[in-house]
């Protein structure tokens, strides 16, 4: 009897949590398989489920979606570029700070941490002005560079934490064998840091894929936009085709969710450990 009561109590928490979590996402999915009439009728399941919305999006048959494939490509390109370059910048910095004990390393780490803690929305205005001073506005590099700036501090922090855990004897042995710093980096450091590198690369990639504010400030040519900005543009119209907006939104939300679940093991260990050090 007591067991039944416990289970009932757990369900009483679990069911509302499930509804709370899934409702907005289910609504997104529902719209994508509904005709406009069904979607606006507030039904829990459409009378005539259809894949027509996806067809319209894939064939770019609505003026809001004229550049769907192009913008999808932009999102991918920018996310991959940010992931790769952040990884490069952060790995070398963490190596210098943690393994080479480079002079000024501590200071650089503190600068990085400081940048990490300044909310990105507050950095956006000065960043916008700087990009315009550099003549990079309306150039995708502006977004890539801005996202690298935002992603690398945390990447450096996580990699530095992971790197500190590698046994120091490895470096000693490599040095005694006459290894150069470059060989130490390539042959000892990189192979051992594998899982953290995956976590950090994915982190930067997802950050760039999901970014709205910077993309919307720094890009304006229709051909350069990412999907996030294109979705935001739907909002400016009064008669937005909501079912198409939601379909595109669903397509845009799927890759990061899939990537997250595939790399969940790396992500949770690497990211939660770094986020709040006890």
């Amino acid at each position: 009897m007591k067991n039944v009561l416990t289970e009932a109590k757990l369900l009483l928490i679990g069911i509302p949590v499930a509804i709370w979590t899934l409702l907005p996402i289910y609504n997104l999915f529902l719209f994508s398989i509904s005709t406009k009439e069904d979607a606006f009728a507030g039904k829990l399941w459409p009378d005539h489920p259809t894949l027509r919305n996806f067809e319209i999006v894939f064939r770019e048959q609505h003026h809001f979606l004229g550049k769907f494939w192009r913008q999808l490509g932009n999102s991918i390109l920018i996310a991959v570029a940010v992931g790769v370059i952040t990884l490069l910048v952060a790995t070398t910095a963490a190596f210098a700070i943690s393994r080479l004990k480079a002079r000024g390393g501590r200071l650089v780490l503190n600068c990085a941490l400081f940048t990490y803690f300044i909310p990105a929305a507050f950095l956006a205005v000065p960043m916008y002005k700087a990009m315009s001073a550099y003549g990079l506005l309306n150039n995708q590099w502006a977004l890539i560079l801005a996202m690298i700036t935002i992603a690398s501090p945390y990447a450096i922090w996580v990699l530095k934490q992971a790197s500190d855990k590698l046994p120091w004897e490895l470096d000693e042995a490599a040095r005694i064998d006459g290894a150069s710093p470059l060989q130490l980096f390539r042959l000892v450091y990189l192979p051992l840091m594998g899982p953290s590198l995956v976590a950090v690369g994915i982190y930067a990639l997802l950050l760039a894929w999901n970014e709205y504010l910077y993309a919307f400030l720094l890009l304006s040519k229709e051909d350069d936009l990412t999907l996030a900005v294109a979705l935001g543009q739907f909002l400016s119209a009064d008669d937005s085709p909501w079912e198409l907006l939601m379909t595109t939104g669903l397509l845009y939300a799927l890759p990061p969710a899939a990537i997250y679940y595939v790399f969940k093991r790396y992500m949770q260990a690497g990211l939660t450990a770094g986020a709040v050090k006890q």
Binding site: L23, P24, V89, T92, I97, P119, P126, M127, Y261, Q278
Partner: protein
């Protein structure tokens, strides 16, 4: 680990013949550090310096103080911080207790529970925006079916709209903080709970005397970190209400961007400078904590 290793390095460094080689290691250190230093100088130091220079006119602050939208935004920001964060952190703390319960279905639920955090903001916030649409949104249609009365116009009233923005914020970030709290709970030794239940301690007593004392530091750190991030939460407000109705639901983060869009860069920077007395002490606290 590194603190133990450090003296060894010093020992090698002071050994005479190696000295020249160590300086080449230092050179490599500088080289490896260089890419990030360049990024930091070009995209953080210069923009921030330039921004502060733009914000130097006292006139900007007078203008801000005279703008009713600014005062409203400060109030909104503070309300957002106090209400949304406490709601979220308490919920995360309690839910973590639910999620560490060993049941197969809870394991599955925890996988789904991460979704709001794992997917991008835009599609889900727009989905919620439509759910709150007074005529066609599922929320008001449900209210109508149940009570035969029209639901409120959710996004057309300052406090209602701001509450909805806070709910969006909680919806989006609750999974992350719950995950952190779960990690915290899992690090508490199981024996403590076993001993407590042998002694006949109730669930509440176990929470009060075992869970809370072990989690207090983590909870405080998480709250501070969450405050910093919430101050910069542009999406929850901008994508849900756009700052409306009549610019009544802006927070400082969206207000800065609003001025920028209106080509009033001085005011945008001044707004951000005004947020600094809130941000910097929190940043200082976090940096102290992390660089220990």
């Amino acid at each position: 680990m590194s603190t133990i290793a450090l003296p060894q390095v010093e020992a090698v460094r002071t050994a005479g013949p190696r000295k020249k080689r160590m300086s080449s290691w230092q050179l490599w250190g500088a080289l490896f550090l260089a890419p990030y230093v360049v990024v930091f100088v070009v995209f953080v130091v210069y923009p921030v310096g330039y921004g502060l220079w733009l914000a130097r006119h006292p006139d900007s602050y007078v203008q801000l103080a005279n703008d009713p939208v600014f005062f409203g935004s400060v109030v909104n920001t503070l309300v957002f911080l106090v209400v949304a964060i406490n709601l979220k952190m308490v919920a995360a703390l309690l839910l973590s207790g639910f999620f560490v319960t060993a049941r197969p279905w809870i394991k599955w639920l925890s996988v789904l529970f991460i979704l709001p955090w794992a997917v991008p903001s835009i599609p889900t916030i727009l989905s919620i925006r439509f759910m709150l649409n007074p005529e066609w949104g599922v929320v008001n249609q449900l209210i109508f079916k149940l009570t035969a009365e029209d639901g409120p116009n959710w996004l057309n009233d300052r406090w209602l709209a701001l509450s909805m923005a806070m709910l969006v914020h909680v919806w989006k970030s609750l999974p992350f903080w719950t995950m952190i709290m779960i990690a915290g709970r899992l690090s508490i030794p199981k024996e403590l709970y076993e001993a407590a239940s042998v002694d006949g301690a109730s669930g509440v007593q176990q929470f009060k005397f075992i869970t809370w004392p072990s989690m207090r530091t983590l909870y405080l750190t998480s709250t501070i970190l969450s405050m910093i991030w919430t101050l910069g939460d542009f999406n929850s407000v901008y994508l849900l209400t756009g700052g409306g109705p009549a610019d009544l639901t802006h927070i400082l983060a969206t207000l800065g961007i609003r001025y920028l869009r209106l080509d009033q860069v001085d005011l945008a920077m001044a707004t951000i400078v005004c947020a600094m007395p809130l941000v910097l002490p929190l940043v200082y606290f976090m940096m102290k904590r992390l660089s220990r």
